[in-house]
């Protein structure tokens, strides 16, 4: 069964085992999802996610590749949703008010992760300071994509041009 429902901030799609959440505001159109699995993620279709298009395993694999938090997933069976290490950020993280307070006095900075996307941008994630064109900005729990193909019109950030120019690398 495939359902298309909204949740605050986006839409969610379920099959019998898992639910995939999509937050359009976080999507940088890095196109990972539909390049990998067009049977499920097809931007030209409404609804654009078809949970019948592939196996649960394949869907999870693809959702985990999304460089942003735009695509996340969860088991429908709540008990199965164990935290699996800090890097599994693609499991949707609920932030209840009491947890937000805990976050605020967390002493450690988030480790910074740098992902090199195939034929796409550099995705920076965590707490860092970024200096560009004379600006120096502090980021916290951020996700920023830096253009690697040289063609972005919004340097230094990725704006999806890598796909248009067919960047390989």
């Amino acid at each position: 069964m495939s359902r298309d429902q909204s949740f605050s901030g986006g839409r969610k799609y379920s099959n019998d085992e898992i639910t995939v959440y999509w937050k359009p505001s976080a999507c940088i159109h890095a196109s990972y999802c539909y390049r990998e699995l067009l049977e499920v993620f097809d931007p030209g279709r409404r609804p654009w996610v078809d949970m019948k298009g592939a196996s649960t395993e394949k869907i999870i694999e693809t959702v985990n590749m999304c460089p942003t938090e735009a695509l996340t997933w969860k088991w429908n069976e709540e008990a199965k949703n164990q935290p699996v290490g800090s890097d599994q950020s693609n499991h949707i993280r609920f932030r209840r008010p009491e947890l937000l307070a805990q976050d605020a006095n967390a002493p450690e900075e988030n480790p910074v992760t740098i992902k090199i996307m195939n034929d796409g941008p550099i995705v920076l994630k965590g707490d860092f300071s970024l200096a560009y064109s004379g600006i120096n900005k502090d980021f916290r729990e951020a996700i920023v994509s830096i253009c690697r193909c040289g063609a972005s019109e919004h340097q230094p950030f990725c704006d999806g041009q890598h796909r248009k120019i067919g960047f390989i690398g």
């Binding site: 590749m65 900075e109 480790p111 910074v112 992760t113 740098i114 992902k115 090199i116 996307m117 195939n118 550099i122 920076l124 965590g126 707490d127 860092f128 300071s129 970024l130 200096a131 560009y132 064109s133 830096i146 253009c147 690697r148 193909c149 040289g150 063609a151 230094p156 960047f167 690398g169």
Partner: protein
Amino acid sequence: MEETKSGKSKTIIEVIDSGPLKITGNIVLKDFKRDKEIPMGEVLLCRCGKSSDKPFCDGSHKNK
């Protein structure tokens, strides 16, 4: 794994004009293509698309 914690770790990322991305700090670089995780202190990542050692900068950005 080495533990070189001197108080608060700070990652500094610098976009070098017409050059690479310079990252200094406590880093784990994940390269999906080569399926590798590389911990390092400083790295220069190519932003021009011309390096033959991607994702790293090899100085090719200087060739017009």
